[in-house]
Symmetry: C2
Subunit: 299 residues, 2 copies
């Protein structure tokens, strides 16, 4: 039995996982000052109430930069510079603890859930754009924890919008929820549209489904850049399947089909036949993936 | 003791490797019809003459597409569709045989030689542009054998030159030896130059060192695109060190320094401090890397 802990800005999701399935789940509030004490207390209570004898480990998905279990920064929570191995060892001496950033963990969760491939990427289109890369069943962290930071792949030079990271033309500036809105505003006067002066990414996709000219154009552009990113992942990490997740992915087929269309023209021949699918797990991916980090090194 | 076999278009380099050092090396001609028989005969002779009792395995670097020891295509030799495991098992039953494409193998060789990092990429700038990716001491092959095919990363949209692969704007169209010449021809009338009407990539770098305006411009452009590629590798596979190898890399500091300059402006903050170095092993990298494929799975 493993615990998979998905730490978010407002709540911590705690999953009890056996054989890659969530058998029980809970939520506690995220309180910056006592985060790991709160989680540990909850786990101890659960273990005691359920007379659990043996836990394989505790996996964490954290919203920020984590390398080798060292938490550099969780900006949305306001936590910095914590050695998670030490911190958890106070409460659970000797228990295996492994943490990764939430995009990596979600990718692993999605992969484990489908249980079809061992090499997968999940691109998460939310407020920003994240990506987790799973190779041979293990999350690729990267030497600086930057593997999968494709939100900052500068492939949208056509617009060259400034990104919060300091670079220009990042994928995130055109393919995140705010990026979708930014693109629609940029082209607002060029196409007919039923979009009001203020709107969300969801509005853009909803109107695109009704064949609104501006929104159709924007969805096609967003899909193009995501496809371009996948074509580059294809010749760098070369996996079987790319899951598209996050709020923007709820647009569904209109987005996924357009990504597939562009991918065919952008991909190198050797990697043309990959799967591109909407992610299905949504809220549970974090817990399942976090627990999935706990694997013995027999592989 | 391991054998590292580096198969080229005209010769096969055979290295005898112990503790990641080449202790003996030989060359035999590449003969399409009898390639693996010739190699096996040579190895059997060597083993017998030197009374070798135990070999750990035979590693191959092959110029083409190889996945899981299946040789799909070696275009420069004219060999297709060979199951190398079966083929070598005829001659060396039970001996561990592992093959990879030559760019991967050269990257592994360079990494083993320096023995400083376990995560490295080597970008080879030759007739084409190849790249090997080594993660945690192991070559990343990719599901379709396409991991590291960064020569076909379409990041030179500014020129959008057609590539042999069918795509446009591939890195290879501007950063290979022919790419360097192509760029210089493209800009030939825009800058003063001492370049004759026919010239090589080496001429461009040699004149750049003498501050020839056209050649300085071209070297800077080539370096920009290589830096852009490294900035993308930084947020996909995120390794410690990037070695620049192949014929074009012999230009030395003038190229490497320009790549570093552009990299600083193109890289995401988290990966700004990576090493970018000229590869040093050259001809021996293939043999050393091929032997380096032979590792037991205790890792």
């Amino acid at each position: 039995m493993k615990f998979g802990i998905d730490v978010g800005g407002t709540t911590v999701k705690i999953g009890v996982v056996e054989a890659n399935r969530i058998i029980d789940k809970y939520e506690i509030p995220t309180i910056k000052e006592t985060l790991f004490e709160d989680i540990s207390s909850f786990l101890k209570d659960y273990i005691s109430k359920n007379s659990i004898q043996n836990i394989e480990g505790i996996g964490f998905g954290l919203p920020g930069n984590v390398v080798n279990n060292y938490i550099y920064n969780l900006p949305n929570i306001g936590i910095k510079d914590i050695d998670l191995t030490k911190e958890m060892d106070k409460h659970f001496p000797g228990v295996l603890v492994i943490a990764q950033n939430d995009a990596n963990v979600a990718a692993l969760g999605e992969m484990l859930y489908h249980n079809e491939y061992k090499n997968a990427c999940m691109i998460t289109l939310g407020t920003g754009v994240g990506c987790g890369i799973v190779l041979n069943g293990k999350v690729l962290e990267g030497v600086h924890g930057a593997a999968g930071e494709v939100g900052h792949m500068c492939i949208a030079g056509e617009y060259n919008f400034s990104c919060a990271c300091g670079l220009k033309g990042c994928l995130e500036t055109v393919a995140s929820a705010t990026g979708v809105v930014r693109l629609a505003k940029y082209h607002y006067k060029e196409y007919e549209t039923k979009l009001a002066s203020e709107f969300t990414a969801k509005d853009v996709f909803d109107l695109a489904k009704q064949k609104d000219p501006l929104c159709l154009f924007v969805v096609d552009k967003v899909a193009y850049y995501i496809a371009k990113c996948i074509s580059i992942l294809g010749i760098t990490v070369d996996v079987d399947v790319y899951y598209i997740g996050g709020g923007v992915s709820k647009a569904g087929d209109i987005l996924i089909d357009a990504i597939k269309k562009h991918y065919k023209t952008l991909a190198l021949f050797a990697v043309k036949n990959v799967k591109i699918e909407q992610a299905t797990l949504l809220n549970d991916a974090g817990m399942l993936g976090a627990a999935g980090l706990i694997i013995k090194d027999e592989q």
